[in-house]
Amino acid sequence: MTLNRLQWVGLLAAPLTWAAQHVVGFGVTQAECNVGGMRWGISNNVWQLSMLAVGGVIVIGAEIAAAIVFRRTRNVGHDDPPPDGRLHFLATAALVANVLFLSVMLLDGIASNLTSLCRGG
C-alpha cells in the first residue's frame, strides 16, 4: 500500500468505524426495546460487544497506519510543500484523533452494556 493510501486509512478508518458503531448500536437498541423489533430476538449486549471488538481492531490498525506514515515523514515539516507536508500533518492529526475515537468507542460500547435498556422515556 502506498504511503498516500496508508495516510487516508489512518485518518478516516477510525471516524467511519465510530460512526458505524454509533448508528448500528442505536438501531440495535431500538430493535431490542421496541415492539416491532422484539420478535427478531436481537441481543443488544452481543451486538454491542461484537461491534466494540471489531471496531477496536480497526481503530488500532488505523493507529498503526498513521504511525507508519508519521515515522516515514518524520523529517518533513508541516509547512513543507505538498504532498509530503500534508502526509505528515494528517498523520500527526490521525495519531491523536484515533486515540480519542478509541476512547469514545470504548465508552459507547461499555455504557450500552452496563446501562439498563428499555426504560420508558
Partner: protein
C-alpha cells in the same frame, strides 16, 4: 488534491469535527421531536418562516463576494454576515423572553442548536476582520471554506428549527 496548503487541510478537519457536532445535535432534535406528542410543547409559539429563510439565504450568498479575493469582497461579505448576525442575536434574545433552555426539552435543544450556530457565525466575523487587517491568499482561501461550511450548517440548522412549523 496534492496542491492544497496545510491550512486548507486543517480547516477541513475543523469542518469535519463541527459537522459531527451539528449532526449529533440535529439527531437529538429529531429524536426529541419524534418522542413528543406536541412540538413545540408547552404552548411555545412556532418559529416564523419568511424572515429567517430570507436572512439565511443572504448569509449563504455572502460566500460569493469572498470569491472576489480582495478587500472589497471581504468587506461586502462582512457587511452581509454582520447583518445576519445582528438579526440572529436579536431573535435569540427575543425568544429567550418567552421560553428558556430550562423550560423543556424543546427549549434546551432549540437554544443549544441555535447558540452553537451563532457562535460559528461570530467566529467567522472575527476571521473576516483578520482578513481585512492582513489579507493573505491562503488565509482568504481557508476562510472561504469556513464560511461555505457555516452557510451550509446554518441552512441545515434553520431548516431543522423551521421544521417545527411544518
Amino acid at each position: 488534491m496534492n496542491g492544497r496548503p496545510i491550512a486548507w487541510w486543517g480547516m477541513m478537519m475543523l469542518v469535519a469535527s463541527e459537522a459531527t457536532l451539528f449532526g449529533t445535535l440535529i439527531g437529538t432534535y429529531f429524536y426529541l421531536r419524534f418522542t413528543t406528542a406536541h412540538w413545540p410543547p408547552d404552548g411555545i409559539a412556532q418559529p416564523g418562516l419568511v424572515l429567517p429563510i430570507v436572512l439565511v439565504l443572504v448569509l449563504a450568498a455572502s460566500v460569493l463576494p469572498l470569491r472576489l479575493r480582495n478587500r472589497w469582497g471581504v468587506a461586502l461579505a462582512l457587511l452581509m454576515q454582520a447583518g445576519y448576525f445582528a438579526y440572529a442575536v436579536h431573535d435569540f434574545a427575543d425568544r429567550l423572553r418567552s421560553f428558556t433552555p430550562q423550560t423543556d426539552a424543546y427549549g434546551s435543544i432549540y437554544f443549544v442548536l441555535l447558540g452553537a450556530d451563532h457562535a460559528h457565525v461570530f467566529i467567522g466575523l472575527l476571521f473576516d476582520l483578520f482578513l481585512l487587517a492582513r489579507l493573505r491568499t491562503v488565509a482568504l482561501r481557508v476562510v472561504t471554506v469556513y464560511w461555505l461550511a457555516v452557510a451550509v450548517l446554518t441552512l441545515v440548522v434553520t431548516g431543522t428549527i423551521l421544521s417545527a412549523a411544518a
